[in-house]
């Protein structure tokens, strides 16, 4: 298991509860989706894996190199697309030519040609999402975290980025953990769904559907219905 939580809790200032007794494990190479209502603790799970915050109690096992794609993009507005992709590569003892070639590799992988000198403000939401993914991949992480990266995009753009993410996951074999508020999206993309509700992990679902997955296929709808039943319980 590349990530495991054993009875993990998180409180802020010793009183504000964010997560209680969470236990789950994510195998190497899995595509895990953390779903749940807003304010239920799913972002806390991601923040603990990312190292943004520490667990108050319990045992967390996670790899050292984790990177993240943020909901807002979190791109540096003063850096160009190429400089943003290279953001995490500086200070790692790499030569400038190595930094450039690595950034270029992911720049091409995410199909950003023609945008290298643009600033984030000149990009569309989808392009920003792609730059965020390229930046996260460029550091060659063991685990890639995605924090609702598609929530602000239109359905067409979301569909395109879904395809990109699945392609990257298959090509790189990286473990992906994504937070989403959409059960359909979780079933469409992932190999496991972790339901976090009322600050606790309620249930873990294995999604063993063939790809490509179609929302109107019966097995797909059955999985969605099963998760919804737990979600709204």
């Amino acid at each position: 298991m590349i990530i495991s939580f054993e009875n993990v809790s998180k409180t802020y200032d010793g009183k504000d509860i964010a997560l209680v007794g969470a236990s789950f494990a994510v195998p190497q190479g899995a595509f895990a989706c953390v779903i749940g209502p807003s304010g239920g603790g799913k972002s806390t799970v991601l923040k603990i894996i990312a190292g943004i915050t520490d667990a108050s109690s319990g045992v967390v096992v996670k790899p050292k190199l984790v990177s993240m794609v943020f909901q807002t993009g979190a791109l540096m507005p003063w850096l160009t697309v190429m400089e943003n992709i290279a953001f995490g590569l500086h200070g790692k003892g790499l030569s400038m030519s190595r930094i450039r070639s690595t950034a270029l590799k992911y720049f091409k992988m995410l199909d950003l040609q023609g945008l290298e000198g643009k600033l984030p403000r000149d990009l569309s939401g989808g392009q920003r999402g792609r730059v965020g993914i390229a930046r996260a991949l460029a550091v060659n992480p063991h685990v890639l975290l995605l924090d609702e990266p598609f929530s602000a995009l239109d359905p067409q753009m979301t569909d395109e980025l879904h395809k990109d993410i699945i392609k990257i996951w298959k090509e790189t074999g990286k473990t992906i953990v994504m937070v989403s508020h959409s059960i359909e999206e979780a079933v469409a993309l992932s190999t496991m769904v972790i339901l976090v509700k009322d600050y606790a992990v309620k249930k873990v679902f294995d999604i063993d559907l063939p790809r490509p997955r179609h929302e109107h296929a019966l097995p797909f709808m059955r999985e969605v219905r099963q998760i919804k039943r737990e979600f709204f319980k």
């Binding site: 990177s67 993240m68 909901q71 807002t72």
Partner: protein, 264 residues
């Protein structure tokens, strides 16, 4: 607390020229109007050589520049201290607020006791300008740091950008827009106070105009006292014209450049 607005900055060359000319034209119109209605209180019309006025202007500019660098150097650790913890912020920010509301000249006994007593008139002038600039820079830095989105700080943490690298690669660029605005306001405060700063010693017993600092502020004061209308107009035109040029070539450019660093 000072709230810095986000007024749009002129982007085109002509818009910037227009913006820079407004103060010059306004002052000239005012002078002509005052003359026309015979409100000008001066008699003689002695005018100093332009080179003397230019030299005085650069002497004043040097004082402002030194004070600005000192204000910047003092503001950074003050703001860093206030950001150490929520408790520190709760203590320091109200303190800054009180300090910025105290008029600079309320520190006159301190200035007289420390600087003027030992004949350090130039240092006294720089100190007064420094005090008038400091709080604009402090509050602009505080506002700039508070405006950094949480995701940006988290992204830096996730990608291992910490310590000095975080300061250089994230904090400094992130505070650039508010620092430029704060610096512009600080310099405006500095220009406002130069007239007093360069003749401070005349406020203490036995202080005379003979010891005035060489600067555009003291020329303005002395020309009014002596009723030299020509000197006064030369100094005002030089001062306003130079500030307009500085505005055009420095501040407008910096404001435009800083737009790149602004979070959406």
């Amino acid at each position: 607390m000072v709230i810095h607005g986000n007024a749009p900055t002129p982007k085109t060359f002509f818009a910037r020229v227009h913006s820079a000319l407004i103060p010059v034209v306004s002052v000239l119109v005012l002078l002509v109007a005052l003359r026309a209605v015979s409100l000008f209180p001066f008699g003689s019309s002695v005018s100093l050589p332009a080179s003397y006025v230019a030299g005085a202007f650069f002497a004043t500019l040097t004082r402002l520049f030194i004070a600005y660098i000192l204000a910047l150097a003092a503001a950074v650790p003050l703001v860093a201290l206030s950001r150490r913890s929520p408790l520190a912020e709760n203590i320091f920010l109200p303190f800054f607020d009180v300090m910025q509301s105290i008029p600079v000249l309320a520190f006159f006994p301190l200035i007289a006791g420390i600087f003027l007593r030992f004949g350090l008139t130039d240092a006294a002038a720089v100190f007064v300008i420094f005090l008038s600039m400091l709080w604009n820079i402090v509050f602009s830095l505080v506002a700039g740091l508070k405006a950094i989105p949480r995701d940006i700080s988290w992204a830096a943490k996730v990608f291992g950008v910490r310590g000095w690298a975080y300061g250089r690669r994230v904090l400094l660029p992130a505070v650039t827009p508010s620092l430029v605005t704060g610096s512009l306001l600080a310099w405006a405060q500095g220009w406002n106070i130069i007239i007093v700063a360069e003749v401070l010693h005349t406020y203490i017993p036995f202080g005379t105009g003979a010891d005035d600092l060489y600067g555009i502020g003291s020329i303005l004061v002395d020309s009014v006292v002596a009723g030299e209308v020509g000197t006064f107009i030369t100094a005002v035109v030089f001062l306003v014209g130079s500030i307009a040029l500085i505005n055009f070539f420095v501040w407008q450019r910096l404001l435009n450049h800083a737009e790149k660093y602004r979070f959406e």
